[in-house]
Each structure stands twice: as C-alpha cells, then as structure tokens.
Assembly symmetry: C2
C-alpha cells in the first residue's frame, strides 16, 4: 500500500507558506514600493535582524523576492511574476467553481424540483 505522497515542498507550498506570515507579507508590501536593504526591511518590525534575514530567506526560496549584495549592503526586490503561480492557482479554482455554478443554474432552470445536491 505505497501511498507515497509527496513529502516535499512543491513551489505552491513554499509560496503560500511564505505568504502565511504577516511579517513576510509586510516585507513583500514594502518591496512592491521599491527595492530595500535588509536593515530597511527590518526597521518596522519589532524583531532581531537575524529573524528578518530568516524571513527573507523564506521569501527568496518561494520565488517572491530576489536580492544581491553590493559591498556590505544586500538589496532586495520583488521577483517579477513571483506571485503569478499563486495567482493562477486561485484563478483556476475560481473559474472551475464558476463554471460549475453556471451548469448548476442551468440544470435548476430545467428541473425546478431538484436542489442540485441531493442525489
């Protein structure tokens, strides 16, 4: 009974996981306004620099943010299109759901005594 199911983090796992933390979302919000150094990103958050760097790593691993170091300053910026994976998954769900609702409405129009759920 090899129910070998994926243990590891697919891209979507990493992405949604990254977005699930308010501090990380705050950093993404900040970065949509323009590039920032690690310290600039840290400033509004009441936590150690180390903690911020760890959040940043999660964001980079998820593909939402990229950064490069020049001298002693690491500058971070949004990875263009980084959100598109999540966006597309949500969009696919919405359209599938809406198509189903349309078919259901059509069915109900044709069969007024049915609730569309009861078999």
């Amino acid at each position: 009974m090899s129910g070998l199911q994926q243990s590891t983090s697919a891209p979507l796992d990493l992405m949604f996981q990254a977005l699930a933390d308010p501090a990380r979302r705050g950093m993404v919000e900040r970065l949509t306004l323009g590039p920032a150094s690690v310290s600039e990103l840290a400033a509004p958050h009441a936590m150690s620099l180390s903690a911020v760097v760890q959040h940043l790593r999660v964001l980079e691993d998820s593909g939402l943010v990229r950064s490069q170091k020049v001298g002693r300053v690491r500058t971070c910026q949004i990875q263009p299109g980084g959100l598109s994976l999540a966006e597309q998954w949500i969009n696919d769900r919405r359209t599938t759901w809406e198509r189903r609702l349309d078919r259901l409405a059509q069915y109900l129009a044709d069969h007024p005594d049915d609730d569309g759920v009861t078999p």
Copy 2:
C-alpha cells in the same frame, strides 16, 4: 520594550496557511467540482480520517469551506467568495508593483544614464 506587535491570526494568515498544504489544496480542488462528504474527501489521501477532519477544520476556519451535517453524513462545499481575500491581496500587490514599474520606465526614458535603483 513591549514590542507587542502580532497577537492573533488575521484572516489572511489563516487563508494562506490553509492553502500552504497540498492535501488541503487537493480538497479545495475536489470541492470546486461539487460538494462531497468527509469520506469522499478522504478517499484519495493516504491518511487517516481523523487527519482529514483536522485539515477540514483548518479549511473551515479559514473561510474557504463550509459544511453541514445531515444524519451521519457531513457534506462539505466551497464557501463562495472564500478565496477573494487572498485574490485581492495578490491583486493589490501586482497593481502596486506594475504602477511602480510604469513610473520607473517613464523615468528611465527621461534619464537614460540612471538605472533607477542607485541613489
């Protein structure tokens, strides 16, 4: 220094956290095709019923799914508009980012020697 910043899980936290697990996304995907009982939701997943019920609770708490029990069967379905919070957050980021890129492109067209990042 009472850095009391975060106390509780905002709705977005719960939502993205719920979507961060592949089993839970699988259940959402299944439910966009139509309502299902707990056992039906559990069938494709190589885990105990108890585990599935726990995932289900996360999905309900996040507002993505709702369910009601009739007799001994609990029927689950998508909560309409449940995804819209996440959708809107992503959308807001994208448009903010794109607006910034537009301004940047305009600036670069006007100032060809500047990279738009270096101060």
